[in-house]
Symmetry: C2
Subunit: 308 residues, 2 copies
């Protein structure tokens, strides 16, 4: 319905303007790219610490990833097949003085100077856990392996909805091991996530979901993902009170990453994996939407949960 879509866009733009007016976000000049104020960042860090505490000591080894991933690893994530429209690859300049003169001529002439760059061996990271799988032991011990990871992720989907940023942080809890334990990890974390987020005063619920697989073939992948109930999202009103936004997701990958990165279990099978990801910026936005733009005036229980 056109009318419905317009209404949603209006709610989103009103929320976006409120965040910018309050100085929490600065529009960086490209849709979906924002600078965060100190107050916004303090909320993000509170959420991150709250998520760590939700693990109750069972989070596993912690890793913080830079926003970049080796291209060779990116090629194994399956992202090129499923979400090519969202990826970002890095180009660099490898010329000498003569090529530099040509580059500057292109810049000064308003031409596309990036045509003079060459591909690098690096891409932007699309999901925090992608950086993890290439570096875990190839033989996963019987009890499985747990990790708590975080990183800046990139999704090329320019939008005026502040909840759809091109550059945002994901804080994930990952399990790699036997299938049943991976499923159990996903389901336990879905419950933990619901509790942790409702402790922040958010109106959360969990829903079966599918990833936005690309193109014609993607429709089948999405249907299959739903039919096999691999993905759940925790949703909440963020930019719109009527249309809920996913602020966290619980994913069972089956043997996808195990196969791509050659991970086996003690029993000799391919390792399965699961992850639960908190979307740090989206949760922060949900909090600003729910409790107002002044975090110092949020309910005492919320402040105590974020900054104990």
């Amino acid at each position: 319905m056109d009318h419905g879509r317009e209404l949603v866009e209006t709610e989103q733009s009103v929320f976006r303007a409120a965040l910018i007016d309050a100085g929490l976000l600065v529009d960086a000049g490209v849709d979906g790219l924002y600078q965060r104020s100190g107050a916004f960042e303090r909320v993000v860090r509170g959420i991150e610490a709250h998520a760590s505490r939700a693990a109750a000591g069972e989070g596993g080894a912690q890793y913080y990833f830079p926003p970049l991933l080796p291209r060779a690893d990116f090629e194994h994530t399956g992202y090129l097949r499923s979400f090519p429209n969202l990826l970002g690859a890095i180009e660099v300049f490898k010329g000498g003085d003569a090529e530099h003169a040509e580059l500057l001529k292109a810049v000064d002439g308003g031409e596309d100077w990036t045509a003079r760059l060459t591909p690098s061996d690096i891409t932007l990271s699309s999901a925090a856990c992608h950086a993890l799988y290439p570096h875990v032991p190839l033989r996963i011990p019987g009890s499985g392996l747990r990790y708590e990871v975080q990183g800046y992720c990139f999704r090329h989907e320019p939008s005026l909805d502040p909840a759809r940023m091109q550059s945002f942080r994901m804080h994930e809890f990952v399990y790699i091991g036997e299938a049943s334990a991976a499923l159990e990890h996903r389901d336990r974390w879905l419950q933990r996530g619901l509790t942790a987020l409702s402790d922040l005063g958010l109106d959360v619920t969990s829903e079966e979901a599918n990833d936005p697989f690309f193109g014609r073939a993607g429709r089948m992948l999405a249907a299959n993902q739903r039919a096999t109930a691999l993905k759940f999202e925790i949703t909440c009103p963020v930019s719109s009170q009527d249309q809920r936004t996913a602020i966290a997701s619980a994913n069972y990958h089956e043997a996808h990453f195990g196969e791509e990165f050659g991970l086996t279990t003690e029993t000799g099978g391919t390792a399965h994996s699961a992850c639960f990801g908190f979307g740090l910026e989206r949760i922060a936005l949900a909090l600003f939407s729910r409790h107002g733009v002044a975090s110092e005036s949020w309910p005492e229980s919320v402040r105590a949960a974020l900054w104990p």
Copy 2:
């Protein structure tokens, strides 16, 4: 001297191996790209908070920047002219189903699939303060403007020296206003930085320096930067005990950014600017080099400064 260079490389590789063995860094598979452990990140955040406290309430508005910059802003930073060899530009996929099939054929055939991507309007950020200048008021008030900013920066300079990362964070204190006040900001922060870093038990000193300007023309720019004493670095032993590494820098930009971004002062002139940047990863590495890889065993005074 070849012998000297070999010696330095050996010291660097021994230090790199010690960091990786201790689990503080994980080699991400591309030279200069590392994943940080929770312990490493805790040190980085301690340094960041210590730097904020060094501002003694005079840091100004805080902003945290994503690792990406609009290309239009990047073109105004002067980076294309001075450091083209270090930049990173982002390419994305804009095709439909047919182009996707071709992309996957290239991937499966081991061809360069990035040739099928198209330029985006985004680049990687090269310095934290670059994201700031396009968004400050065009007319700078008489007392000038101060900012505390942080972000992930990219420098395409693959290296096995752990102190030369391709992706790292810079925490900066920026001043924009009259020339004399900008110079004063730089010099006051150089002293503050020396105090803050020596409070962490680091053997720091300040040195006149120049940026690594590119190519033949760059040699003149570097000489000019030294002749006019625009840049100072705080150096310290990091990967090598003999060859000091810059862990922070104090820069007076004269009217460079003011001109590029159209910033004027109350008196009608072009605004000048200065920044002091703490290199968060390099300072963390300096601490691990100085006090050992186990941060829980660092001297009490250092621990108290990082985690009061």
